[in-house]
């Protein structure tokens, strides 16, 4: 028992550490890649198989030998539910087994997911345990934890300053903030509250990954075995969180439901229960509750049908966002390296790992900006913060490659959009103020300023072939709430795996380098660089350096 508790604590601990280190550690998406339903649906929807999904295959293989030990010992969703079950479980005298037929529900959910995945539509994020639990910890748990720690550090500041504890004095935590956090919280509140119906309700009845592992663990090599000491007291059946033991015949086991938690062994007054290897012929198997084939088909069709309806949604992108007839949220910016939109949505499992990894917290889950199909998918939100042109964290942690890994050398070329100036909002254009903050912060040097005869201060223009859409400008723009310079998805590079960003960008005439050494040609005294706008200043400040005036 102690071993089990340790193993589970270790697994959850490792999961949380990997999540906290997302973007810094190579294998921080390992747990996601172990989730059979998540990987299965992604593979179906993307119609591809890649070796990085091997962990899911290994998990299924372990189920053949050891049963659902993944559910019992490794899955952070199961461990979290176990922990909350302990807190919220009602005192029940008798384990309800009336729900036994509903044990089939998980197979049907799986069939639904598979049906929709065949259409290239993923709904797996509603049910795959690792997608859900990653989202819970990254969008709800960690932000709260960081926010509280930040407050604590700030409260400690006067003491730290007095004692000159520099590390504490200057420690800045910057807690992340996320959209949809409350929805995720409510969803999980429901999952946790379901303990009132049964322990591990989610795992028993709903989990599609549990369903896959159940199918694989009908006859595991290592399994629950009951010897003749059993006096059929039924304590074990009552204790079993997974309804894997038939109370009328506690010496038998529904092995596909058993997660090898061994609580039955511990509780048995006769010491009649053991978990050990056994021959297939000795199987003490309870009548299993298998999915009904007709129902599986029906749910598969329902999934396919739902996918078909979803694909007729107004905001669906058929091919390329630039196609005529595409209706999108005007400012939906995908992270750098995101596959072409239809492939991206098919591949993205909405786990939120990219958002957890994003060092600037610009990656946010969207609601319906990208249509029903885009629910919870990541989008760059420059107003929150820019997308660092050197950072490749989101692509590194994506378990399905929906956001491709961009080689460091190519990163600056991965254009995610183009900045546009709303002149009627701009301090320099409209309010005639001296402001060039966008130029000041642009790492690509994609802004230039023009001195106009009708305006007192230079006004900005975007050089669209130098702009990568990183959003430094939108983030820093002093106009609120609608920034006067915003990033739009125009000319974003959405490439299929294997294509080169640098090559593609160059072939389209973009120059997307941070290029510290390479200066724009300083202008001769007359006129300002580029822009193509003639400097028609009639009075003496023709060609005067920006920010200077006549003096006096």
């Amino acid at each position: 028992m102690r071993f089990r508790r340790l193993a589970r604590a270790a697994s959850l601990g490792i999961f949380l550490m990997l999540l906290a280190a997302a973007g810094h550690l190579a294998a921080s998406d390992l747990y996601l890649r172990m989730d059979p339903a998540l990987i299965g649906a992604a593979a179906l929807a993307m119609r591809t198989l890649v070796w990085i999904w091997l962990p899911a295959v290994i998990v299924i293989a372990t189920a053949l030998l050891f049963g659902r030990i993944f559910c019992g010992y490794i899955c952070p969703m199961g461990i979290t539910i176990d922990a909350t079950d302990k807190c919220f479980a009602p005192r029940r005298k008798k384990n309800k087994t009336a729900h036994a037929p509903s044990l089939r529900l998980k197979y049907y959910i799986l069939a639904f997911m598979a049906g929709s995945a065949l259409f290239g539509v993923t709904f797996v994020y509603w049910a795959a345990p690792l997608s859900l639990v990653t989202r819970f910890y990254s969008l709800v748990f960690y932000p709260v934890l960081y926010m509280v720690s930040d407050k604590a550090v700030s409260a400690f500041y006067p003491i730290a300053s007095h004692l000159d504890l520099r590390t504490l004095m200057f420690l800045e935590i910057n807690p992340p903030r996320f959209a949809t956090g409350f929805f995720v919280l409510l969803f999980f509140a429901a999952v946790f509250a379901a303990v009132k119906i049964s322990p591990r309700f989610w795992c028993r009845y709903l989990c599609p990954s549990g369903a896959i592992l159940a199918l694989a663990s009908k006859k595991p090599l290592f399994r629950r075995q009951v010897n003749s000491e059993c006096n059929q007291c039924g304590l074990c059946a009552n204790k079993c969180p997974m309804a894997a033991i038939n109370p009328d015949a506690p010496e038998t086991t529904r092995h596909e439901e058993c997660i090898a938690c061994m609580q039955c062994r511990q509780i048995c007054p006769q010491n009649a229960v053991a978990f050990s290897a056994g021959l297939a012929t000795d199987l003490q198997k309870a009548e299993s509750i298998s999915p009904v084939r007709r129902q599986v088909l029906l749910y598969g069709l329902a999934g396919a049908g739902t996918a078909a309806v979803a694909l007729t949604g107004l905001k669906v992108v058929a091919g390329d966002e630039s196609q005529k007839g595409t209706v999108r949220h005007t400012r939906l910016i995908r992270p750098p390296g995101a596959l072409p939109e239809p492939d991206f949505l098919a591949a993205c499992v909405r786990c939120g790992q990219c958002m957890a990894a994003c060092p600037t917290n610009t990656l946010q889950p969207v609601w319906f900006d990208a249509g029903l199909l885009g629910l919870f998918s990541p989008a760059v939100t420059p107003r929150r913060k820019y997308c660092d042109p050197k950072c490749t964290a989101c692509g590194q942690v994506c378990p399905t490659g929906a956001i491709a890994q961009i080689p460091k050398s190519e990163r600056t070329w991965a254009k995610i959009g183009t900045a546009v100036i709303y002149r009627q909002q701009c301090l320099a254009w409209e309010y005639k103020k001296s402001c060039m903050v966008c130029d000041e912060v642009c790492p690509y040097d994609a802004l230039e300023f023009e001195k106009r005869p009708d305006l007192p201060y230079p006004v900005p223009h975007v050089l669209e072939d130098r702009c990568a859409g990183c959003g430094h400008c939108e983030h820093a723009c002093p106009v609120y709430n609608q920034a006067a310079i915003v990033v739009t998805p125009m000319n974003a590079l959405r490439l299929s795996p294997g294509q080169s960003f640098e090559y593609t960008a160059k072939s389209r005439g973009f120059t997307l380098q941070l290029a510290p050494g390479e200066a724009k040609q300083p202008p001769a005294v007359s006129g300002y660089p580029g822009g193509g706008l003639p400097d028609t200043a009639p009075h003496g400040n023709k060609g005067m350096a920006p920010g200077f005036d006549e003096g006096g």
């Binding site: 200057f170 106009v479 510290p516 050494g517 350096a545 005036d549």
Partner: protein, 310 residues
Amino acid sequence: MKPFAKPIDRRTFLKQLKGMACFAGASLLIPPGLMAGQKRPDLAVVTGDIEPAVKKAVDMIGGIGRFVKPGSRVVIKPNMSFASGPERASNTHPDVIKTLVLMCRQAGAGRVLVLDNPLAPAEQCIENSGIGPVCNAIEKNMAQTVTDPSRFKETAISDGKSLRQTDVMKEVLSADVLIAAPQAKSHSGAGVSLSMKGMMGLISNRRIMHRLDLHEAIVDLASLLRPHLVVIDASRVLSTGGPGGPGKVLTPKTIIASADMVAADAYTVSAFEWYGSRYSADQIKHIRLAHQRGLGRMDIDQLKIGKAAV
């Protein structure tokens, strides 16, 4: 808030009086001939390698001991707002900061911090500028970026015209000595970014300054944050494309030091080429306004300027 910010209260006045008394007493120890006939310049301009030039320039205007007393808590404000190296001339050269830090420590400073609230990602700024590595080699955690709004304190600007209050870094408010060590560079909005404009790196909400008249807001801020010592790094000058660059980089190998921020800025404007032309100091509105409001002097031809080469 210490002397550079507010009208002084009685306690501070007495403290200063005490300091001056000590100074007066100490001056008796110096041979009279050394003081006589050697009125120190208002502004020192030294060309040469950075380290000796900084030392020489500060020495010419009275030495570091004029500003930093034993036990003083010193904040040095460099430009380290961009994630680029010294060659781009958008950040102060790390050697300037290093020299200043060592001078402060030799003068017996109690604590020296090098602080800025950068635009670009903080760690990249502090690393790539080279300022972090050189300072932290002298003392761990000396150079820091401060961005969290909770580390700033709301402060009234009693002399402010449009900017009447702002949030100032707490460490700056509790410091005894403020040293501005800006990089000499052009600025697309403010014309130039020198010691006055650089004070924007010590506050939290800079956005509002752009919604006001930027130049006036800079002067308002300068009326609150008046560095005791200004050392302008013109070893390289970002003549165009500032503040971030890339742009044309001049290499006049010059260090300018003064206790008067307006004079230091004014001299720098007039001494170098900006966008291929020469300008006079009054062509920068915030310098002009600061002069008019008595924060310093831009009439550099009336000032005593000491020049040297090392």
